[in-house]
Amino acid sequence: MTIFRYAMIKGLQGKLTLICNCILPLALIFLRPLWTGDFQLGFSIMAFAIMSGTFLISQGIMEDRVDNTITRILAAPVTMFNYLVQKLLAYIVPITVVIIMVCLIGFALYDWTFSFTIALMLCYNVFAIASVALTFAWVCLFKSKETSMGTFSMFLTAMAVIGGLLIPVEVLPTAIRYIGAFSPSYWASTGIGSLLLDGVTLRYWLSIAIMAMFTVIFLLYGGKRRIV
């Protein structure tokens, strides 16, 4: 698990990455107005923070490729599958821990029910994994870090808007909603929305299943592309 350990250390060394992955979600949960009242924007803002954090931390794969670290790693008896599994796990584990902490704090502070907390935790975690998979598939498309970062920043913002993380899904025009359905963020906000309104329903489970399907598709797509 050497690759896993060093990927996690390297991933959390950057200040911005550390803030987006750990400090910001933990800080957000203490802002009571975001989690109470009619709008409850905290849930979608948290999803946006998770998406940004995973995007930043997952750039490690691109960095490895740019500075030829991957070539040196693969000179050792390590398979590409092993490398990718350890790398992706290293990016998923920190945010998963933070999500669990956030949900537990929310459970303590805002009188969430136990089933609601678990369902929210699951929804955020599946979304985080889907975001890591999406970033991984994205960075596999580019050879330059700058191009990847620049285009993905725009893509991320657009995805947050049409996916209903910054603007509620219900407000968006129907055509935009249909386009937004092709991003995991739409299904994260749909899942959270149905959880807030109706609890754990079929729609919630379908949102989770769709995010899981997105994860599989992105991983299968990215995993077969040449990254060396």
């Binding site: 249909y178 729609r203 949102s207 599989v216 598709i217 299968l220 797509y221």
Partner: protein
């Protein structure tokens, strides 16, 4: 531009199918439909990327059939069955044709048309793909044969060079032996006789000038004898092809004990035959090293007046091994080129037998004489 192939057509058909499914989802806006399409894409990618068994398409059909009633209106979910029927027939999973039974549950002419169209397209692409694969296999076989022949050509040219070199070496050895055994002995004997005669001359009343001339001649003869000895020494070879070399190869084999036996007179065996036996022994021992779990190897050389036979056998024959690899096949060609044979017995004990005829010159001359008379 990439040439149109059944794989590309299959991909285009699939993309079109998924495109149409997304279009139907846009019409319905049903979440189940979206999940179903994503599930089918994921499974399709899984089969394409990870090369899982083609029968996994049955899972797709089962999931699709289960979710068929959940996607409103129901026809849309049945369209997915059409796409799956196409994929299944293309992959050769013919039991998928049972999806047509769905028509007994909910019949519609449009659905029947979609099913028939998908099945025909899948069947057409499957046959095309099979034909394509056959052509590829044939091309691979031809390429393999070509590379094998190329390798054989290389082996033969190397063997030819070796034979030339070793013939030269053997000829040098024969010349040095002849000089040493015949001319050398005679000259040395004459030299000793002259030295004895010198002592007799000293006792008599020989002329001083004659003695001086005699000593000078004796000195030159001494120098000549030394030069002949030096020349013979320089001409003689360090390693010559033969039993010793084969024994050396067996002794240096690192994996297990090699029992080496020689029967008969091997002095009449030609250089090219020794080289062939050496190559055969090397290849057999390499095969023992790479493809067997042998604990004991036996090497027998039987020489008769007409032929020489090499037998290499080991007790570690593996069941999965091919009886004859490329190396042994090339050696068989080489053996045939010099009138010999090479055979392999891949039973419980793996045996390689190489038989090479010995061209006996005296017999050949006798045969010529008989023919002439």
């Amino acid at each position: 531009m990439k040439k149109l192939s059944p794989q590309i057509c299959f991909l285009i058909f699939k993309i079109l199918g998924f495109g149409l499914l997304f279009a139907t989802w846009l019409l319905s806006g049903d979440v189940t439909g979206f999940f179903l399409i994503l599930f089918l894409i994921a499974m399709s990618l899984l089969r394409r990327r990870v090369h899982v068994a083609r029968f996994t398409i049955i899972i797709d059909i089962i999931v699709c059939t289960i979710l068929a009633t959940s996607w409103e209106p129901w026809e849309y979910s049945v369209y997915t069955l059409g796409l799956l029927l196409f994929q299944a027939i293309y992959l050769g999973v013919y039991p998928a044709i049972l999806t047509l039974l769905y028509l007994f549950y909910e019949f519609s002419p449009l659905l029947l048309a979609i099913f028939i169209f998908s099945a025909i397209c899948g069947l057409f692409l499957r046959f095309w793909n099979l034909e394509f694969s056959e052509k590829f296999k044939e091309r691979d076989k031809l390429a393999e044969k070509y590379y094998e022949l190329d390798e054989l050509k290389g082996d033969l040219s190397v063997a030819l060079t070796q034979v030339e070199q070793m013939t030269a070496v053997a000829e040098r050895a024969r010349i040095s032996r002849d000089i040493h055994d015949n001319a050398g002995h005679e000259i040395v004997a004459a030299y000793i006789s002259f030295q004895t005669a010198r002592q007799l001359f000293e006792g008599g009343n020989a002329d001083k000038n004659v003695l001086e001339l005699y000593d000078l001649a004796l000195g030159r003869l001494d120098s000549g004898v030394n030069k002949i000895r030096e020349a013979v020494h320089n001409m003689s070879t360090i390693i010559s092809p033969g039993v010793e070399k084969l024994q050396g190869i067996c002794e240096s084999f690192p994996v297990c004990d090699v029992e080496f036996n020689v029967y008969g007179d091997t002095s009449k065996v030609a250089v090219h035959a020794w080289l062939m036996l050496e190559s055969c022994l090397n290849e057999s021992l390499t095969n023992v090293l790479r493809h067997s779990k042998a604990k004991k190897v036996t090497v027998n050389i039987d020489a008769t007046p007409h032929l020489i036979r090499l037998l290499v056998e080991n007790d570690g024959s593996l069941k999965n091994n091919k009886p004859m690899g490329r190396g042994l096949r090339n050696l068989r060609h080489r053996a045939a080129a010099i009138g010999g044979t090479l055979s392999v017995d891949a039973g419980e004990v793996f045996r390689v037998i190489c038989v090479i005829p010995i061209n006996n010159q005296k017999e050949a001359e006798a045969e010529d004489e008989i023919i002439a008379s």
